[in-house]
């Protein structure tokens, strides 16, 4: 009974999140929310590999960039519809993620963090590389056109894109929830907490770790695709190495190893810099840092853990993760 009611609350909440902004938000706000959806998926990707599986990645900005570029190139060069680019971006990013997962097997902890950071630093430069310039547009980047609502729906482009991204995100969030709360999820956490014991239990460490990396990269790649469609522009400067750190911050602030934490983390990285800018034009970076520290003190387990305390409906389930 209690589970039922908490599920119902969750479903209603998700429906409200999908529908209410369509009526009350301006185009600009919908754009912001679409970016929150994209960031939430990206942070969820980081969370899968780092939060749940314990493999620290500071390079997910690279997957985000690859996803964005796949979408931009497909839409710009081949005039393909925006929705068809998402699965392609997903497959390509999963492939790259899998390949990166191979060296990750040999590198633990801090060394893996550095390796992934190197990837994040390399990608903007690779995007400018002469050899790919015909595709990537080099430093100029690629401009794409925002899709209109299909089937003559009475929605403008911003409203449609928000709804579309939201629907994609809901599917991916439910998949992630199922993944981490099932047999595989338990194995992931076992590897994170006690790799030796996990192996003794018969878990194939190598296989699971590389596959987690692939799934994680896929999530972040799809996020990049959505962001590219929303921003209508990709360029190497859009994916500076700081982006990877931002996603990592989102994961920690939102709550490591928490599905809902990805949403809170995304809200943080989308809106806190704006607030910092409002507070001080002279040193917005310092204000941002200060807010970050305050959050770490107030919610050491991430915002999700704080919300869990105050929201009894979700408490029983959330504590089990």
């Amino acid at each position: 009974m209690r589970i039922m009611s908490s599920r119902l609350v969750l479903v209603l909440l998700v429906l409200a999140m999908a529908v209410v902004p369509l009526f009350v938000s301006s185009g600009y706000q919908l754009f912001q929310f679409t970016m929150v959806v994209a960031y939430a998926l990206a942070v969820l990707g980081v969370n899968l590999v780092t939060g749940y599986n314990g493999q620290i990645s500071l390079g997910h900005g690279a997957f985000y960039a690859i996803g964005a570029y796949v979408t931009a190139i497909m839409m710009d060069h081949w005039d393909l519809p925006y929705w068809s680019t998402l699965p392609v971006a997903a497959v390509i990013c999963a492939g790259v993620g899998f390949l990166l997962g191979l060296p990750a097997l040999r590198l633990g902890g801090l060394y893996l963090a550095l390796t992934t950071l190197a990837l994040a630093a390399a990608v903007p430069q690779l995007l400018k590389y002469d050899l790919f310039e015909g595709w990537t547009g080099g430093v100029q980047g690629i401009s794409i056109i925002k899709p209109d609502a299909p089937f003559g729906l009475p929605l403008n482009a911003d409203q449609w894109l928000y709804l579309f991204s939201f629907a994609v995100a809901v599917v991916l969030f439910i998949s992630a929830w199922n993944l981490v709360n099932g047999r595989i999820g338990r194995a992931l956490k076992a590897i994170r907490d006690q790799p030796l014991a996990a192996e003794a239990m018969g878990i194939d460490l190598a296989q699971l770790k590389t596959r987690t990396f692939a799934a994680s990269a896929m999530y972040t790649g799809i996020a990049g695709s959505i962001a590219a469609i929303a921003v209508q522009f990709v360029s190497p400067d859009s994916f500076a190495s700081a982006l990877s750190i931002t996603l990592f911050v989102g994961m920690v602030v939102g709550g490591a190893a928490s599905i809902s934490g990805a949403v809170f983390g995304a809200l943080f990285i989308q809106f806190i810099p704006n607030i910092a800018d409002q507070v001080s034009k002279a040193a917005p970076g310092a204000v941002y840092g200060l807010i970050l520290i305050v959050f770490m003190f107030v919610a050491p387990g991430g915002i999700a853990s704080l919300v869990r305390k105050w929201w009894p409906a979700g408490g029983s389930r959330a504590r089990s993760t």
């Binding site: 706000q29 970016m35 100029q140 360029s235 859009s238 190495s241 700081a242 704006n274």
Partner: protein, 401 residues
């Protein structure tokens, strides 16, 4: 979208006073009987935050204008947001300015990647994107982007001026070029190729690049020295320009050094690098250098100094960013004056393309601002200058590039 534009237009017209005669299709947004809203984005945070002073300068200028009674009976409401030099953030902030704050126009947004990201949007919304703070050549493309215009001389113009000088004064020179791997840097490569023409490969023996996210460019400088070059062209933003100057000096290399105007600022580049290490370096100028004693009694610079004293009392008087800001602001101010009482976006653009031999207090003597419906490059003239240890010394004539 059509409906929204119409509503915005209707709202603007009603607010501005329905009695005024105006063209049937004119769109007036962000203007009331007492206020005119101007939007802007700047990198107040992030890697390019040293340019943030330009935003502070802009804000102070419009405060001064308001203290003097505003323009056309209206106070300027200057709204500036941080874009951290990130294209997605710039898109977000510009959408906020255009859709939520409903600004009449965008003035002086800074950065080539950020302005590229918003250019299509601004032109689709028919929102003027004026006097963008970047020297890329592409802002003069009035055919494809009639709502976008630059201000400063383009990087290509500048590089062509250097090329001409190198050809004439270093006929056997071996040139090394270091440029930032983006639009900004590549314009210098294009300009040098343009200017040197068929002789490009004869002159230029080494080309290296760096990324704006790199920590240092020390190794690039060493590579260039080892190539045997005796002429160095640096197309780098101030942080890296200062590194180049320091490293060139420290390893005992003595090339004829041409420095992009972007990084000629004493406050932002020379002082951090060490003034004695930059002696002999050549740059080109279009603005009066605030550290040059020649302008100590110059009426234009006195006007600027009085402004700084009153509105930015803590500002660094050697930072050329404030001077550039003042120049662009006076140009914008002139456009608004020319608008009279018709602040429709159409009329704003008409006046933007109608600046004739406009003198700007902080521009070098002989350099004026000129635009027309077929010329969206407001400043096309520069003069060479050499760093003499304490100030720059200009030499030669004003050159049209």
């Amino acid at each position: 979208m059509k409906r929204r534009t119409f509503l915005a237009a209707a709202g603007g017209v009603a607010a501005a006073g329905a009695g005024l005669a105006r063209p049937a299709l004119a769109t007036t947004v962000g203007v009331t009987a007492t206020e005119l809203k101007i939007g802007n984005t700047m990198p107040y945070s992030g890697n390019a935050s040293s340019y943030g002073v330009i935003g502070h300068g802009d804000a102070a200028y419009w405060k001064m204008v308001n203290d003097m009674g505003g323009v056309g009976g209206r106070k300027i409401n200057f709204i500036s947001y941080d874009d951290a030099y990130s294209p997605p953030k710039a898109v977000e902030m510009v959408r906020k300015l255009v859709e939520e704050d409903k600004v009449a126009l965008l003035f002086h947004p800074l950065g080539t990647p950020t302005n590229t990201a918003i250019q299509k949007y601004c032109n689709a919304k028919k929102c003027p994107q004026l006097f963008v703070s970047t020297g890329a050549d592409k802002w003069g493309d009035y055919k494809h982007f009639p709502w976008t215009i630059g201000w400063q001389p383009s990087y290509q113009v500048e590089a062509r001026i250097y090329a001409a000088y190198i050809k004439k004064n270093f006929p056997n020179g071996k040139v090394a070029l270091i440029y930032q791997n983006d639009d900004f840097g590549k314009d210098y490569l294009i300009g040098l190729k343009d200017g040197l023409g068929a002789d490009f490969s004869k002159f230029v023996i080494k080309v290296v690049t760096y990324e704006s996210t790199d920590a240092t460019v020390d190794s690039q400088v060493v590579t260039m020295k080892d190539s045997g070059a005796d002429v160095l062209v640096t197309a780098a933003i101030p942080k890296f320009a200062a590194q180049v100057i320091r490293k060139v000096y420290d390893i005992g290399w003595k090339p004829a050094h041409f420095m992009t105007n972007v990084s000629s600022s004493v406050g932002a580049t020379i002082t951090p690098a060490g003034p004695e290490k930059a002696v002999g370096m050549i740059t080109s100028q279009y603005l009066k250098d605030p550290t040059d004693p020649e302008w100590d009694k110059d009426p234009g610079m006195n006007e600027w100094r009085a402004f700084m004293k009153k509105y930015i009392p803590n500002g660094d008087l050697t930072d050329g960013g404030y001077v550039a800001s003042y120049g662009a602001c006076t140009t914008m101010h002139q456009v608004l004056k020319q608008c009279g009482t018709d602040f429709s976006r159409e009329n704003i653009m008409k006046q933007v393309a109608n600046l004739k031999n406009e003198t700007v207090p902080v521009l070098l003597p002989g350099i004026t601002v000129n635009t027309s419906p077929t010329n969206f490059h407001p400043i096309r003239q520069m003069q060479l200058a050499r760093w003499a240890g304490k100030t720059y010394q200009r030499f030669g004539d004003v050159i049209q590039g």
